[in-house]
Symmetry: C2
Subunit: 431 residues, 2 copies
C-alpha cells in the first residue's frame, strides 16, 4: 500500500527584478517566486508537485500556508486520496478553522490549490498521462463531480454542465488529433513589459512576428501618453494584421478605464486586460458596456469560482484568463472553465511568471478538447522566461503550444533548482 | 525623537472549542484566536496594539504575515507616521510584491489591518483620546483624506463623502452628549449558538431580556427543521416585541437561501445574516430582492471596500456588518462606513470572538456621531465572552454599549494573557 510520506515546501525565488523582466504598472520589480510543494510517497520515484506563484516578498508566508494545508495529507493512503479527489478538495477547502482566513481567497486558498494540484500530479503520474489527458478522458459525469457547486448553481447547475460536456464528447478524439498536429495558439507578452526601452519594444515586436505569434500584448496603465506612444510603436512594428492587446494591471478606476480605453480606439485592440480591481465585477460590467465592442479580459487575480460566476453573470468579461495557481487548484479551474462555457466566453489563460505556462497549458488543452464550443478561437499566454527551471518545459514552436506528452501536471521543478534559488540560502541569494 | 523600536507578534489562542461557545453551522469548533501585534516605541510605556481575529488553525500563518507587514514600521520615526497615516496605509497596501498575495484580501490584507490599527492605537494614546473621539474630531476633509478612493469613486467620490460629513458636523457635540448618557444599543448572540441545548437556548433568551437586550440573534443553516424549532422556542421565550435575527453563516446557495427565508416568514425576522458566500454580491442582491422586505445583512467576511461598494451598489444588503479585523484597518473601515451612508444602509458591526467588541465599538460610535443619518437605528453585536483578556473590556449595561473613555483603539490585551494563552507554549496549551 502506497502512502504519502512527507510534504516538503521550498521557498524558491528568481531574481528577475535585476533585469526588469516582468515589470508592469502595478508590479515594477517582481522577483518571480514559487512556494513549491513536493509530496513524497512510499513508492520509489513517485513525487507529487504543486506550487503557488508569487512575485517575491511574502513567498515565505505562502510557503508556510502550503505546509499547513499539505501536512494534512501526510500519512494518508494514496489510493484512497486519488479515487475521490473531490472529497480531498472539500476537506481542504472546508476546514472549519482555516476557512475563516479566506474564505476561498488569498494565501490560504492558493495553498489549497498547490496541495490539490500536487494530488493531481500524483494521479497523472500513476496513470502515466499528462493532466490534460486525464481530465479529457473522464466521463462528463465524472468531470461534473469534480466541482463544488455550493455557490455556483444559480448560474450553472450540474445538469447543465453535464449537457455541455456531453455535447462535446463525440468530438474528443478528433480534437485531440488536431491539437496534437497543430498545437494551440500562443500569444506573447515578451515585447511589452513596461520597463523596456522603445528600441527593445520595437525589436521584440518584430522578433515576435518572426517567431510566428499572431497576438502581442503590451503593459499599460502608468501614463496614458506614454501608453499611446508605445502602442503606436508596436502597431507600426507589427502592422495592421497582427492582433494587439493591452494589460493595465488594475491601475484604473472605473471612469478612468472607460476614458483610457476610449483614447486607445485607433489601435484596434484585441482585448483590454485587468482594467480595474479584480474583485470589482460590477465595475468590469460597467466598463465592458461602455467600451463595447472592445473585449474586456480578466481572471489572473480572480480569487475563486464564486467571483468568476458573478463576472460572467454580469457580462463583465468577454475573455476569462484563468491562472493555474491563483485559485484552489484543479477543481476550481474546471469549475471556471465550465462557467465560461455557460457564458459563451473564451478561456485564454494567464501564464508567464515561473512555471505558470507549464501548469496552465493542461487546462487550456482540456478546455479545447472537452468544453469550448470553438477551439480555433482559443489561445494561451506565453512568456519566454525561466522555463529551464521546470522539469518539463513547455514546447512552443511557430507561435503554438505543443500538446504535452509527459505524465503529470507540469508542476515539477528541476531537482537542481532549489540549490541555486531557494531563498535565502540558495547560491543565487546566499552570502 | 520617538521611534518604533520593535514589532512583537504573539499567537494567542483561547480553547473555546472545549465548551462549544461560538459554534455555528460553518464553524462547529472554533478556538477563538488573535494574531496579536505590539509596536514598542522609545517612549517609555507607549505601545501600539493591533490584532487579527481568527478561529484557531492558521493563526500562526496570520501571525507570520502580521510580522512581515509590521517589520516595515520598525525603526521609523513616530511623528512622521502619525502625521500622515494615509501615506503609511498606502505604503503597506500597495507594496508591489506583497499585493500579489491578495490583492486586498485574506491573510495579507488582514495583516495590514493589524498594523494600521496599531498605528492608530499609538496616535490615540499620544493624543490621550479613545479612537472614536480622535476620528470624530477630525474635520470632514481630514476624514475624506483617510480613504483610498482608487476603486470607490464610481459609487462615492471624495466630494460626496465630504458633503455627508459636513451635513452631520453641526450635530457632533449633541450626539456625543446623547451617546455618553445613553450609550449605543447592543444586540446579543449569546443565546443562539448552534451547539447549545434547547433548554440552554430558552434560558439564555429569557436572560437576555432580563439583561435589557431588545434584539437577539440565532445561528441557523445546518438543518431547516431544526432551525424552525429553535426559532419557535426563541420567539416564545422573548415574545412578539423583541427583535429576532438569524445568521446562516454562508451555508446556503442563492436558491436555498430564498427558499429557507421563505419558510421563516412567521418569525418576523429583523434580519437574515450571511445567507450565502460573502463574495457573492450578485447573489446577495438576488436574495434581497426575492425576500423583500426581510433585510439582508452581511459584512464580517467582506474582504475590502471594493467588495462592499458593489454589495451596496446592487442593493445586496440592507445592513452592513463591518468587522474590526477583517479588512485593512481604520482606513478601510472609514471607507465602508461612508459607502454605507451613501447607500442609506445602517452599519451594525459584527463583534464577538475575542477582542472584536472592544475594537469595533469605536467605529460604531464614530459612525453614530459623524456619519449616520439616524443614530437611533444603530446597534452593535455583543457576546459576553473573553472580555477579561482585554486591557479595556467593553462596558455593556442595560443592553447598551457605554462610550469608551480610555485612550487608544481598544486593541490591547492584558499583559498576563500571553503567559496563559500563547500557542503552543502558554500554560493553557503547553504540556
Amino acid at each position: 500500500m502506497v502512502s504519502i510520506t512527507a510534504a516538503t515546501v521550498t521557498d524558491l525565488r528568481f531574481p528577475t527584478s535585476r533585469t526588469l523582466d516582468g515589470s508592469d504598472a502595478m508590479n515594477p520589480d517582481p522577483d518571480y517566486s514559487a512556494a513549491y510543494l513536493e509530496l513524497s510517497t512510499s513508492e520509489p520515484g513517485l513525487t507529487g508537485c504543486g506550487f503557488v506563484f508569487t512575485i517575491g516578498r511574502g513567498n515565505d508566508i505562502q510557503a508556510a500556508a502550503v505546509e499547513v494545508v499539505a501536512d494534512r495529507l501526510v500519512g494518508r493512503e494514496l489510493d484512497g486520496l486519488l479515487e475521490n479527489p473531490s472529497a480531498v478538495n472539500r476537506e481542504l477547502n472546508w476546514d472549519s478553522q482555516l476557512r475563516w482566513l479566506g474564505p476561498d481567497k488569498g494565501v490560504m486558498h492558493m495553498a489549497v490549490g498547490a496541495a490539490m494540484n500536487a494530488v493531481w500530479d500524483l494521479r497523472c503520474k500513476r496513470e502515466g498521462r499528462p493532466l490534460w489527458s486525464t481530465l479529457s478522458h473522464l466521463e462528463p459525469a465524472e468531470v461534473v463531480a469534480l466541482v463544488d457547486w455550493t455557490y455556483l448553481s444559480d448560474f450553472l447547475d450540474p445538469a447543465q454542465a453535464r449537457e455541455i460536456l456531453e455535447e462535446r464528447r463525440s468530438e474528443r478524439d478528433s480534437r485531440i488529433a488536431d491539437l496534437r498536429r497543430d498545437g494551440l495558439a500562443a500569444y506573447t507578452t515578451s515585447p511589452g513589459w513596461l520597463g523596456y526601452s522603445d528600441d527593445k519594444l520595437e525589436r521584440l515586436c518584430r522578433q515576435a512576428l518572426d517567431d510566428g505569434f499572431n497576438t502581442i500584448k503590451l503593459k499599460v496603465g502608468a501614463d496614458l501618453d506614454n501608453d499611446c506612444r508605445r502602442l503606436g510603436i508596436a502597431r507600426t512594428a507589427i502592422g495592421p494584421d497582427t492582433a494587439l492587446a493591452i494589460d493595465a494591471n488594475q491601475r484604473w478606476s472605473v471612469p478612468d478605464a472607460i476614458a483610457a480605453i476610449g483614447r486607445f480606439a485607433e489601435f484596434n485592440l484585441r482585448w483590454v486586460e485587468e482594467p480595474t480591481h479584480p474583485d470589482d465585477v460590477v465595475g468590469h460590467a460597467t466598463i465592458a458596456k461602455a467600451v463595447h465592442p472592445v473585449p474586456i479580459a480578466t481572471g489572473e487575480h480572480l480569487a475563486n469560482p464564486t467571483l468568476a460566476k458573478q463576472l460572467l453573470q454580469l457580462g463583465g468579461a468577454q475573455i476569462l484568463q484563468i491562472d493555474a495557481t491563483r485559485v484552489g487548484g484543479v477543481h476550481d479551474l474546471v469549475a471556471m472553465i465550465l462557467l465560461a462555457a455557460r457564458a459563451g466566453v473564451d478561456v485564454i489563460p494567464h501564464a508567464g511568471g515561473v512555471g505558470l505556462c507549464e501548469a496552465v497549458q493542461h487546462f487550456a488543452f482540456f478546455n479545447a478538447i472537452s468544453v469550448a464550443a470553438d477551439p480555433s478561437q482559443l489561445a494561451l499566454e506565453y512568456v519566454d522566461h525561466l522555463h529551464e527551471h521546470l522539469d518539463q518545459p513547455v514546447e512552443v514552436t511557430s507561435g503554438r503550444y505543443r500538446l504535452p506528452t509527459q505524465p503529470g501536471a507540469g508542476t515539477a521543478f528541476r531537482p537542481g533548482t532549489a540549490a541555486a534559488f531557494a531563498y535565502p540560502c540558495g547560491t543565487e541569494w546566499g552570502t
